[in-house]
Symmetry: C2
Subunit: 284 residues, 2 copies
């Protein structure tokens, strides 16, 4: 019926807002036989799956069962070999801290055809939601993207030379910085960065639950009780967000309704409602 | 008719392939009164504009007339004040080397409401098209994004400490590296990186004209005659692309047809054909 080859599509689900999915991702989700998705992909995105689609959570942090990477690889390959149209759905962009490399190794070893479909990565979506630019030719000439987990490992090995890495003309984006932000603050101050450099923590980016904390590098340790997932952005180009927060304490604007946007571009609304859709079909 | 507020939307057009636009971008393009677009946004994306939309090239490299940033700001603001729904359409993600900060300054000074809609940035799209991951927890723990133009300025000022910046566990993405890639090769080798590190040049990412050169840091100077725009990716996570290029000299897969993908998600095909659409309406 739908002209999609029997191959595996490793697809970026974007930051959470279904309006920020790509046209291609929406088409693939609707046509899939099987979607294997990570924990961070929210229900409104999964609701775009077709009525025939089996939607399976393979999040490694899900509930009681811990699914290993090997098991995810095994399931993808087995389904593709049965001729199913398989989507491996990863939050954000699949190539950014998504363990994509390990899955590609497995698919190449098994000789399964595959395609990678990029998605909006959370750090860039967070910046857009803050209405800031990540670069600014007057003061921010580069972007450095790291993960909190990796930073912690490097910290133990004393491998991260923040002084060279995070000059004051850098916008630093830290994915999953964890709850204790004081280590980042401490290390960056020690590396010589000014305590006045703007720092913004964004939790639950591009979902109705998004929250923002606009602060400075020096005051970062005071930010706590954030809801995961969070993104930490540090750099002079974030000043705009802090200035606005000071002036108006704005609350995030209400999300546009997905159905109305899909109608705007001429698409039928999703065939399943959120309450009966993915839940009914979710397996573990 | 269409419920979009009279404000300015600064929208990411993604890397070039209209299938990689977000759902939100497509909806906004169809509903706009005026689209001010940069040179790098290709005709198939502009063809999604509504029949009522005025589509204007404000690319700073376009033809005979050089449009200044001040003039772009002035046009945006004047149109918004006349109550038009204005889209400022930027290739890739608006917050990455797009001079967004200067436009936001102007909009804030003028008191015009605005929203930023993220797009897939060219470097991440290039990696997906190469079917590689930008990070790999076994060997690539961070991503550094720089622009060739900025690197050149820093080179003159001797500001870039590549040794610290581009460790061998970094994936380096250089936007607009220019035609002479030997300076990057030379500097990175001098900083101690191995000449065997994979380097890939991608030109015209995610368009039917995409071409790829898979090489190494040492052999990078031999890559020439690339068509702008190009992206240069350097790092161990690119090894997969080089290995495949060695084994099969593959050509890029044909692009899916936009109309068929929009039909897949239930949308009507664009109302204007590419040949008569944007050209007829393009003003300078």
């Amino acid at each position: 019926m739908i002209p999609i080859e029997p191959k595996i599509f490793l697809v970026g689900a974007g930051p959470g807002d279904p309006d920020l999915l790509t046209v291609k991702a929406v088409a693939l989700l609707r046509a899939a036989d099987l979607i294997l998705y990570d924990d961070l992909v929210p229900p409104p995105v999964l609701a775009l799956a077709g009525p025939q689609t089996m939607v399976v959570n393979v999040g490694k942090r899900c509930g009681t069962k811990k699914i290993t990477q090997l098991e995810i690889n095994r399931r993808m390959i087995a389904a593709a070999r049965r001729g199913m149209r398989v989507i491996r759905l990863k939050s954000g962009d699949p190539g950014v801290f998504g363990r994509l490399a390990e899955e590609l190794d497995a698919l190449e070893a098994a000789g399964i055809p595959f395609e990678v479909v990029p998605g909006i990565t959370a750090g860039m979506a967070a910046a857009a939601s803050l209405r800031v630019s990540l670069t600014d030719r007057r003061k921010s000439s580069r972007i450095l993207i790291v993960s909190g987990h990796q930073a912690q490992e490097n910290r133990r090995a004393e491998k991260t030379d923040w002084k060279a890495l995070a000059g004051e003309d850098t916008t630093l984006i830290i994915y999953m910085p964890g709850r204790d932000l004081s280590a980042f603050s401490h290390e960056l101050l020690e590396a010589g960065l000014s305590g006045a450099i703007p720092a913004v923590v964004v939790s639950c980016t591009c979902t109705p639950q998004q929250r923002e904390w606009c602060t400075t590098l020096a005051d970062l340790p005071a930010v706590s009780r954030t809801d995961a997932p969070t993104i930490l952005l540090i750099g002079p180009s974030l000043a705009r967000a802090s200035q606005r927060a000071d002036s108006d304490h704005r609350t995030p604007e209400p999300e546009e309704d997905l159905t109305s946007l899909l109608q705007l571009i001429g698409a039928a609304p999703p065939t399943l409602s959120l309450s009966e859709g993915p839940n009914r079909r979710i397996a573990r």
